[in-house]
Each structure stands twice: as C-alpha cells, then as structure tokens.
Subunit: 393 residues, 2 copies
C-alpha cells in the first residue's frame, strides 16, 4: 500500500464539472489501494477576487487580516471536495492548515513552513479516510493564520509529502508536464520524462509555471518524488527526482520583457558610484548583476523587468539627474540540463550556432545546470528555434 | 471604562457602503472610551449561497464538512471589517471561533456552546485593540469546526458578553427594536423601551425576528444586558434585562400560516390511537398539544404550520387511510407582558373585546407572560387591531 499526495490547483477546481473530474481522479487512486492525501488551492479566481475586495477597503490592507481573508478560499475548496467525495460514497475529511498543524513563521502573506504535525493526517488515513488539506495556509506560534505566498499550495503538497514520508507527490494542473521549451508555433516541443531537482529549479527560476521553485527546494531537501500531470487526462507526466547522471540539454526557455539598462557618467568617483547604488537599492530596483564597462568613466549595465521601468525612470529623472540613462529590450534564453557546465561540447555547439548567424550576445552566464545568454529581444525567437533544433534530442 | 459587545447581522454588512457605516459605529463606541468587542455574521446572502453550492454537489451534504464550508462566511466578514478599521486608523484584530476558543459540542450545524475561553479576547482588549469575532461558529473537543445553527451570531454575542462580563451587549440590525406589534398599515405601532427576558423569550418564540430565543435564554441565565438598535441610526432601541415588576401587555404578535388539523375515527381504541400517534411522530409531524374532543370516538385537533401540510396529507393518504382528516386556516394571536397570568383585568378585558364582536376562539392558552388565542385566519387582523387599540398603553 503506497501513500500518495495529490495536489490540484485553482483552475482544476473552478466549477462543479471540474470538481467532479478531480473527485473521480482521487477515487481512482483510492481504488488502487493507496492511502490518499489531497492538497488543494482556492477555486478559480477566488484569491484574486478576495484581494480585489480587500483593496477596495484599504490600499494597503493589514497583512495579518489578509491572511484571515485569503485562507477562506482553500477552506471552501476542501469542504466542497470533501462533500462531493462523501456523496460519491468515499469517506473523506477536510483539514485546514491549523487543523493539520502546519506551523509557519509569522511573516504574513509570505510565511515559511517550520514544522508539520503529521498526527492528525496519519490518524485519518488509518481510519481509511481520504484526507483533503487546504494548501497555501498555516498557523504561527501565537495561533494566527498565515499564508505562504506564491506557489504556496505546491509547497504545502511537497512539505506534507515529506512530513508523512509519501511515496509519491503528484502535482496536477492544466499541463501534463515540463517541456523542452514553452509551447511554440514553430518548434516541435517534447515532453520530458525525467528531470533532476536542480534542473527543475533552474527551469522554475526561469519562469516555468509547472512548479514553483520553493516546492522544488523542499522536494530536493527531503527527496520527495514529484510527478507532474494533467488533471484532465491520465497521460504520464514529468518525474522530478534525484540527479540523473546524463549530461544533456533538457529544456530551453526564454524570458522576454526584460530591459538591459545602461547608466553613464563622465567621471567615476566612489561618491558618485555609491550615491547611484544606494539610491537604486533604497528604491527597490531589483538587479542581480551590475557590470561597469569602463575604468575611467562610469558605464554601468544591468537587467531589469520591463514592469520596473516606470519606477526606474522616475528615480533617474528626480534623484539621479546627473546620469545619462538608456535601455534596450532584451531576452534571456536559458539552456537547462544537469552537467552543462562541464560539458564543453554543449557550450561549444551553442556558441557555434550563434556565431554562424552573427547573433550578437550581450551577456553569457553559465552554472552547474544552466547556460543563459542575453540578446536583443527581436532575435529571441530565432535563437530559441535554432538552439532547440540542434540541441534537444 | 465600560466593556461593550456589538453584534452586526449579515444585512448590515452586505456591501462596502454598509461596512463603512458599521466601522464608523464601532469607532464611535471606541472613541467613547469603551473596550470594544464586535461579533459579526456572514455578509448578506453568503451563507444561503454556500448552502446552495453544497446542495449542487450533494443532496445531503456531510454535516462536518458543511460547517467547514459555512464558517468561511463569517471569517470573510471579520477580516474585511478589521482591514477597514485598521485603514481608518483604529487597531483591530479579527478572531475566528477556534481562535477565541468557543468550545461547543460536536452536533454539527446545530452545535451548543459549552465554554468560552476569554483569555485571547482579554489580551487583545488590554492592548487597546478592537476585537472582531466571527459569530455562528465554534470548535469541538477534537478540533473540528462547528456552527451554531439559527440565531447563531446573536448567541455568540451574548455568550461572549457573559464570558467577558461585558457591561452591555448591543444587537444591531435593520430595525431599531421590539415593537408593540409587527409593522402594520392600520395600527400605530409603538417601540418598547424595556422588556424582561421572559417577555422577550415569549416574543421570540412567537416569531419576533429581532432576537433569537437561544440568545435570550443565555442572556437571562447570565444576566447579560441586551440593547437592540438600528445599524443605520443612533436612536435608542429596546433594552432587555431582568424582570420589571409592572404588569402590562407589552406587545401583541400574530402568527398566520397555521392550520388547525382535525382527525376523526368513529371508534376510539388504544390501538387505533397509538397507531395514529406513532405514525405522526415517526414522520416528524411537529405538534405541541394534541386534544381529543370526544370520549366515545376519536376526534383529535392539533396545530401545524401550513408548510407541513403536504407531508401530513401524504401520511394520511398512505398510512392512515382509515381516519377522516380535515383542516382550517387559523392564526395565533399572542399578548406578551410580564405578569399577564395573574392580571385578571387584562384577561377579562381581552375576553370582553372578543366577545363584543362575536369572535369565535378555537383555543386559549395562558402562561406567566403570555396569553395566546387561536382564531380563524381571516379574523386575525381585526383581532390584532382591536386588542392593540385597547390594551397597549
């Protein structure tokens, strides 16, 4: 008898027809003699609507109270799903975050799980119940409700899997699994059978929507075997588990909506440089790497998301008027696969492909599982196509 | 410094405009140097909608899970109200039933409060917080969510008032208070300043909507001073407290939609009688008093609500075919006032009024605070008008 954790996202629960599909999928697992734990998100757009309601009452709603409000979304999902399963003749019991004992820190709206009490879950499983748990939520040491922020329900599912030592953690959504690149008109994408935690992490960090990086980090730490799959069919998805030794490019992903920012000043002094840096940081302009391209003068480049342009322009026009400021639309294309860093053949092949077509690269970054290049946005589709064609087996 | 509990019902919280009115009323109490606890229901039609949703998934939804579902309604109310109060510059904190520690028995959807832990409320009040509590809900000893059934939020408010020894428990709704009779075109109704618990109980039992009888029972037991009032103005409402010694008719209420049922059989034997009674009881036909009007034959009368007619007809036609069965539309008119039973003048006056106009009375019932008469439904308005005109001072 295996213990499985099944996680269903909001769009898989959006209406009664979908709830019935989910319930039947759960019953299939139960009928195959599994001990079944289910983790669910809020239905459809519930969370977005609750946030909208709160913003109508206050521009900056109190964080503690937001968590009380938002956590109702998953509580509605667990009770409805449990009502339906009982109606279909399978005894099911719902548990909220606090009823399970999912203890977090007090960082409202972005809480981190500290410990999970598995007793109530184990008790209900031994009674033969299907256990339906509210994702995304927990409780802090003073008994206040917390929520986990983005990717919260995935994180709950993997953390519960670790706590009860589940054999399998299935993350169901609208898509079957992880692909060799994002859905694309001109490229024949390929579904990946297996990925290592590190590869999945790199893909999540590059924006792959299938799994959130927080849940992959926990999965890696506790060696939770994750399998992604579609709620709406029974095809095999992608398995994420410990490192495979093969060294290949598994997936190529592209991030558009980026800007390469350039800031110049004719002289470079520590004062001028510090003033610039402090002002950018204090105003929350997020950049990871900042490169000075000159020695005598100041000539800085860094990448931001297009959505941060407005704030940056505001700062440059008001607080940093002495600097010259410009930007270019760029894309980051990332090749993800275990061992890329030590696979000279892949690196060489990539550079050759780009060279052959005279594609200009702004930056190039490599680490264990990932090779990222930054180029002009308008070239990104061509680059992705060529690399996918040559490097994905 | 007084401690006050303010209760607001669902229609007082139905939209953002009303939430703002409620918030400002709460702030008024806070500004008058009170320690303020607020108890709220679910917004508007939320509970009805959740019940509808559940019924679409299951004709008889699992009771435990219904409580998980329904309790979200009040949780949304407390967080929204708390977000709004914080936005308006007043520190407020929301608490669910389980966060307060409102312990109930396990009777899901109809749970009874057993104890209330006042510690968290007291702690938050000493910090100067306005404490916003979810009505209608509690937690049982195994940590499961329960709901209190009809009148649940009123009951929460009065029980919390008893637990924290509040000086005043205000129940706000759409109406200011209790009136000498229900709103009526032809009678000039009078708002009552004061009522005893017993009088209020009799009025609630006769269907007065202002307060539910469960909350009045708790209020009487713990001597909680209740004041009703309108959410939407600041007029003085009706105060409900310990017995006043005055003996007058305070209010006259009318219950239509009743049927006087008559069941006959030419012979009376214990077998026939027991068979009839058992069948009626087993099928859940609710009657309080059953009168046999004959000695030799069986000639039973009792009162039911019109809504129960269909089930009764079904039983009579299928299981009790040997009996003759008929019914008449009737009304019960009740005079409520402390000491009515011992006030011969009131009783005599009532009977004279009815006599004068040859109004035929089916039954007449008197107890400490109430005199009820049953008459043909079509006469009920006339009776109510005449009695109100002569007996209400």
């Amino acid at each position: 008898m295996e213990t499985v954790v099944l996680k269903f996202g909001g769009s898989s629960l959006a209406d009664n027809i979908k709830l019935n599909i989910v319930a039947n999928k759960i019953i299939d697992f139960k009928n195959q003699n599994n001990r079944v734990v289910v983790v669910v998100s809020a239905q459809g757009k519930t969370t977005d609507n609750l946030i909208k309601d709160a913003k109508e009452l206050s521009q900056h709603p109190n964080s503690r109270e937001m968590d009380v409000l938002l956590s109702t979304g998953e509580q509605v999902s667990i009770s409805k799903l449990s009502i339906l399963l009982n109606q279909l003749g399978h005894s099911a019991i719902s548990l909220t975050g606090w009823q399970v004992g999912i203890y977090t820190n007090t960082n409202h709206q972005e809480a981190k799980i500290e410990t999970i009490n598995s007793k109530r879950i184990e008790d209900e499983l031994s009674k033969g119940n299907i256990v339906i748990i509210a994702g995304f939520q927990g409780i802090d040491e003073s008994g206040d409700i917390t929520t986990l922020g983005r990717g919260g329900s995935d994180t709950t599912a993997v953390a519960i899997s670790a706590a009860i030592k589940a054999d399998h953690c299935y993350i169901f959504s609208d898509v079957e699994g992880v692909y060799s690149t994002d859905p694309n008109k001109t490229i024949e994408t390929k579904k990946l059978d297996k990925l290592s935690y590190k590869e999945m992490l790199d893909l999540s960090n590059e924006g792959a929507k299938v799994l959130h990086n927080r849940c992959v980090e926990i999965a890696e730490k506790y060696k939770v075997l994750i399998e992604t799959g579609s709620t709406f069919n029974s095809n095999v998805g992608t398995i994420i588990q410990e490192n495979m030794e093969e060294s290949t490019v598994k997936s190529i992903v592209k991030n558009d909506d980026l800007l390469l920012v350039n800031i110049k000043h004719k002289t470079y002094t520590n004062d001028i440089f510090n003033n610039l840096l402090t002002t950018l940081l204090q105003n929350g302009i997020p950049f990871q790497t900042l490169i000075n391209n000159s020695i005598d003068s100041l000539n800085l480049s860094f990448t931001i998301k297009s959505e941060d342009l407005q704030s940056l322009e505001h700062i440059m026009e008001n607080d940093l008027k002495i600097f010259d400021f410009s930007f270019t639309n760029i894309s980051r294309i990332s090749l993800v696969g275990y061992g890329i860093m030590n696979n000279q053949e892949i690196i060489q092949k990539t550079l050759n492909i780009l060279n052959k077509d005279n594609i200009e690269i702004y930056t190039y970054h490599i680490d264990e599982c990932k090779l990222s290049i930054i180029a002009k946005e308008k070239l990104s589709n061509t680059i992705l196509e060529k690399l996918h064609q040559e490097l994905i087996k």
